[in-house]
């Protein structure tokens, strides 16, 4: 409503005249520019390279650990766009938004371009020779046990080289750290099924009950699960699968569910045991010891503890009894508590009682080359490293593929402990929070200009080695690949063994060719095998099947009673892992900041998700800046009022709030990792991410939230375009 004299018509007039002026000055023959631009040709090229026509090369996505196959469209020597590789059984030619943003990691203006050595507060550019010689000197000057190597999840030939380097040093201190990995679930799976990561067959299930697993958004291998989910929803023969999502904060998967059940945080295990009890009562054959263990979990008690109504529990049990096989998934919401292991075990037990093990929970196959098998990261590794640093046991620290200064809770005092390490080497793409603390920063090639192999932890069937090959020449001559750096470091220690390899490419090629028999190339000559492998981007491995067992037992399984109210810190904080931001490693890619969060549509900022009832109680409306305080710290962010969350819970996305890293990440939002309380899972010692209790108070300001949905919020501008119905009115039992 523009009410001053400069009205809309006047505005259009000015716009029209402005446009005409631009047109007059801009058009005409003068814009044919002869002899101003260069048209640089190739020196040598292949016949299939035609200017202006894209050529596709296969590679592997490095944006997350799922290891999807990608193909990059390359034109005039530059990679322009990424697509999914149809030959990769993980993603079958599909791709997610996070993967698409891979080109922005490559062309990012904030990439480090040369090795930097700390002099005072500044980084001084040095040569690679000097940098590598310095590492050799520093590593040689300390005892091997005082050298620590911190990495994210690693696999393939880089992992093999890394192990060889650590062996050459005589040190076994390799800490594999992932901030948001499902590490408690892995441990529980190992106990229940004998394998850490069974293959889930969503497409074979008729009912899926997902306890907070965001398998369509950010959980393990979302592109793969999305395709399975599509088949589950529209089965070739038979009925459409029913998805029930049980969680305290709605995820993308929860938004897709037939029934979304808000549960009191941490009581997922109680509901699972209650369902076993209800199933036993309904006549499903349940082992006697299990019946004994769950008999106290009556519907009334479970309903009281979990906040899920008795009617819904009954319907869910009926649904599970009626439709088999089903699949129960334990997601990050289950394992984020001090009793996370018990929660996950209770859910494994429910799967076993329902007879899903071997049907929808299947055995993975073994990996024929264990030295290349993926090493999955966990949070315990960082605590162990942190303790050792605090006790001055670490003299030289390498950090690769991890940003612990950003992802460690403030209570760990990691930044302070890092200062005790005399020499810190950080391999990095950006000057992130950890690189800023380093003594030596070594710039890495982007994933689109580097050689590597990867073995994803989760593969649908069999085993495979994914090949990452450069899609274009290096943008900056001063960067190096991780494989090349490790090879150079190994040449310092074991020159006889490695002197034959000029660079990582020649090492990789000869390593692959030497095992070509196992990689399906026994009858091909070396060049044919190698070229075929590169053009496919994926090499199948023949792995032996692993036995899966049904070991979950009720013995010793105690799921504690739900939380007692904490009057000082009345709310639970759920740190949300969003499909774009994850743990924040890709925060400097503006497409990811710009793409709206699927549920709130917020861009370029953090937010506090809050139930309308809670907001009303605290006198808060959308856009209020609030202080979220835990026992470990406080941060401020804007409130988004949202019905898809339990009233006892608030949620903040992870990955925002960088203090360094680059122009698109720095200063955008707040870092929710920082205020997590140091509470750990009792069995595995992993940080319990969902245990933090907080209090919320208004900070005084109010802002307009920048989001895609209209100013009236999710109520469709009051126009009632799509009919809204409360979930208790939906009769899911009609599906049975």
């Amino acid at each position: 409503m523009i009410e001053n004299s400069f009205n809309r018509r006047g505005f259009l007039k000015v716009l029209g005249w402005g446009g005409a002026t631009v047109a007059l000055s801009g058009c005409g023959n003068t814009s044919v520019e002869d002899g101003k631009e260069f048209v640089t040709s190739y020196v040598q090229t292949a016949d299939y390279i035609i200017p202006s026509i894209g050529t596709y090369f296969n590679s592997t996505c490095a944006q997350c650990n799922a290891g999807c196959g990608i193909m990059g469209r390359v034109r005039e020597g530059r990679v322009l766009k990424l697509e999914g590789n149809p030959k990769s059984p993980i993603n079958n030619g599909k791709m997610c938004g996070l993967g698409q943003a891979g080109v922005q990691a490559h062309y990012n203006p904030d990439r480090i371009r040369e090795p930097l050595l700390r002099t005072g507060d500044k980084g001084e550019a040095i040569t690679w020779e000097k940098a590598l010689a310095l590492i050799n000197e520093k590593v040689g000057g300390v005892k091997a046990e005082n050298v620590a190597f911190l990495t994210g999840g690693v696999s393939g030939h880089v992992k093999a080289l890394l192990k060889n380097y650590l062996d050459a040093l005589g040190s076994g201190h390799h800490y594999v750290y992932e901030a948001v990995a499902p590490s408690i679930m892995r441990a529980a799976n190992k106990k229940a099924y004998g394998v850490e990561m069974p293959r889930l067959h969503l497409d074979k299930a008729k009912v899926i009950v997902s306890f907070g697993a965001d398998f369509l958004g950010a959980w393990i291998s979302p592109v793969h699960f999305s395709q399975q989910y599509a088949r589950f929803r529209k089965a070739d023969k038979g009925e459409r699968g029913v998805l029930v999502q049980v969680e305290s904060k709605m995820t993308l998967t929860g938004a897709n569910a037939d029934r979304w059940l808000a549960i009191r945080p941490g009581t997922e295990g109680i509901l699972a045991l209650g369902l076993i009890n209800a199933l036993a009562a309904a006549g499903v054959s349940v082992p006697g010891d299990v019946v004994g263990a769950v008999k106290e979990y009556t519907v009334d008690r479970v309903s009281k503890d979990t906040g899920v109504s008795a009617e819904h529990i009954g319907k869910l049990a009926a649904l599970l009894k009626e439709r088999s096989p089903s699949l129960i998934i334990a997601g990050s919401a289950v394992e984020g508590y001090a009793h996370g292991s018990q929660n996950a075990t209770a859910i494994a037990l429910l799967n076993q009682v329902l007879g899903n093990v071997g049907k929808t929970v299947e055995a993975p196959s073994s990996v024929p080359f264990p030295q290349m098998a993926p090493t999955a990261g966990n949070r315990f590794a960082l605590q162990a490293l942190n303790d050792n640093m605090a006790q001055d046991k670490v003299k030289v620290l390498f950090s690769y593929g991890a940003n612990p200064v950003f992802t460690a809770p403030a209570s760990m005092k990691l930044k302070e402990n890092l200062k005790k390490v005399p020499f810190k080497v950080v391999f990095a793409h950006y000057m992130d929070e950890t690189a800023v603390e380093a003594d030596l920063v070594l710039p890495l090639n982007s994933a689109l200009e580097d050689w590597a192999t990867a073995m994803p932890e989760y593969i649908a069937e069999g085993a495979q080695l994914s090949i990452q090959q450069p899609l274009m020449e290096k943008l900056y001559p001063g960067t190096l690949g991780m494989g090349d750096i490790l090879l150079a470091l190994l040449k310092q220690r074991r020159p006889e063994e490695y002197k034959g390899y000029e660079d990582f490419y020649s090492y990789l090629r000869s390593a692959m060719v030497s095992i070509k028999g196992a990689l399906g190339g026994a009858n091909e000559d070396d060049d044919t095998f190698w070229d075929t492998a590169l053009s496919r981007g994926v090499v199948k491995l023949v792995g032996a099947p692993v036995n899966i067992s049904s070991n979950a037992s009720a013995k010793g399984l105690v799921v504690p009673a739900p939380f007692v109210e904490d009057s000082a810190y009345p709310l639970h904080l759920i740190p949300a892992v969003s499909a774009s931001m994850r743990d924040g490693r890709n925060a400097n890619e503006p497409w990811l900041q710009e793409s709206p969060d699927p549920l709130t549509t917020i861009v370029w900022d953090s937010w506090v998700e809050m139930h309308p009832k809670t907001a009303a109680k605290l006198g808060i409306v959308e856009g209020d800046i609030v202080e979220v305080a835990s026992r470990s710290g406080a941060i401020k962010a804007q409130v988004y009022v949202f019905t898809g969350i339990h009233p006892d819970v608030i949620s903040m996305p992870l990955g925002y709030g960088h203090e360094a890293m680059g122009r698109y990440a720095k200063g955008v939002g707040v870092n929710a990792f920082k205020i997590l309380d140091p509470i750990f899972d009792k069995e595995t010692g992993e940080l319990a991410m969902h245990e933090t209790r907080v209090k919320v108070s208004k900070a005084g300001q109010r802002v307009v939230i920048v989001k895609d949905e209209g100013p009236a919020g999710g109520n469709q501008m009051g126009r009632k375009i799509a009919v809204r119905m409360s979930s208790s009115k939906v009769n899911l039992s009609e599906e049975v």
Binding site: G28, N29, S31, V32, E33, D34, G35, K36, E37, F38, V39, T40, S41, Y42, V43, Q44, T45, I50, P51, S52, I53
Partner: protein
């Protein structure tokens, strides 16, 4: 006022009808000349020597032998250096001339020759070489040099190529409004597309 309006309507009608009569007759594709500036190139490439008539000492090489992308892509492209070397490594007679020596210097350094663009349309214009070459050379059997020459002029008489045609929108349209046979044997005629989005995408 009213009579002026009537007069102008009448005039427009006359022009349109005269124009449509003129368009009905098949005309040669005329091209106005408008010489562009001289462009300095790293190597003064003699188009006349390569493509010129034999009588004038030319080798009569087909344009598309070097500009091989023109028929397959929207851009004609510059041939890769290996193409120059492919022939010149076995032409001993000119091996020691200054231009060829310079060519081999680039080749030995494995560096691309930094040619300057001579025909550089503004970025909001999309000109497709493939469509024109396929139409004129392959469908209508026009001589290659004539077809290329519609826009590039008589390159076979030049050393370093120089723009001869205006390459303005009006000049493009002047040709696109004219009818020409659909292919070499057909009596059916058509004209080039005149939709804005054909070039401004």
């Amino acid at each position: 006022m009213y009579c002026f309006l009537r007069l102008s309507v009448l005039l427009v009608g006359l022009i349109v009808s005269a124009g449509s009569y003129a368009v009905n007759a098949v005309q040669p594709l005329t091209t106005a000349d408008d010489l562009g500036p001289k462009v300095e190139q790293p190597i003064e490439f003699p188009h006349d020597r390569h493509a010129g008539d034999a009588a004038k000492g030319g080798m009569q090489i087909n344009c598309m032998y070097c500009h091989t992308y023109a028929r397959r892509s929207i851009v004609a492209g510059i041939p890769p250096l290996q193409k120059c070397i492919g022939c010149h490594q076995s032409i001993e007679s000119v091996r020691e001339t200054p231009r060829i020596k310079k060519l081999f210097e680039y080749w030995e350094a494995k560096k691309a020759v930094p040619w300057k663009k001579v025909h550089d349309l503004p970025d909001f214009v999309r000109f497709n070489h493939e469509r024109h070459i396929q139409r004129f050379v392959f469908a209508q059997n026009k001589p290659v040099q004539e077809a290329c020459g519609y826009c590039h002029g008589d390159v076979k008489t030049m050393t370093v190529a120089r723009r001869q045609k205006p390459l303005s929108m009006g000049w493009c349209v002047s040709c696109h409004q004219k009818d020409h046979p659909v292919d070499a044997t057909s009596t059916k005629t058509t004209h080039g597309p005149n939709d804005c989005w054909q070039c401004h995408k």
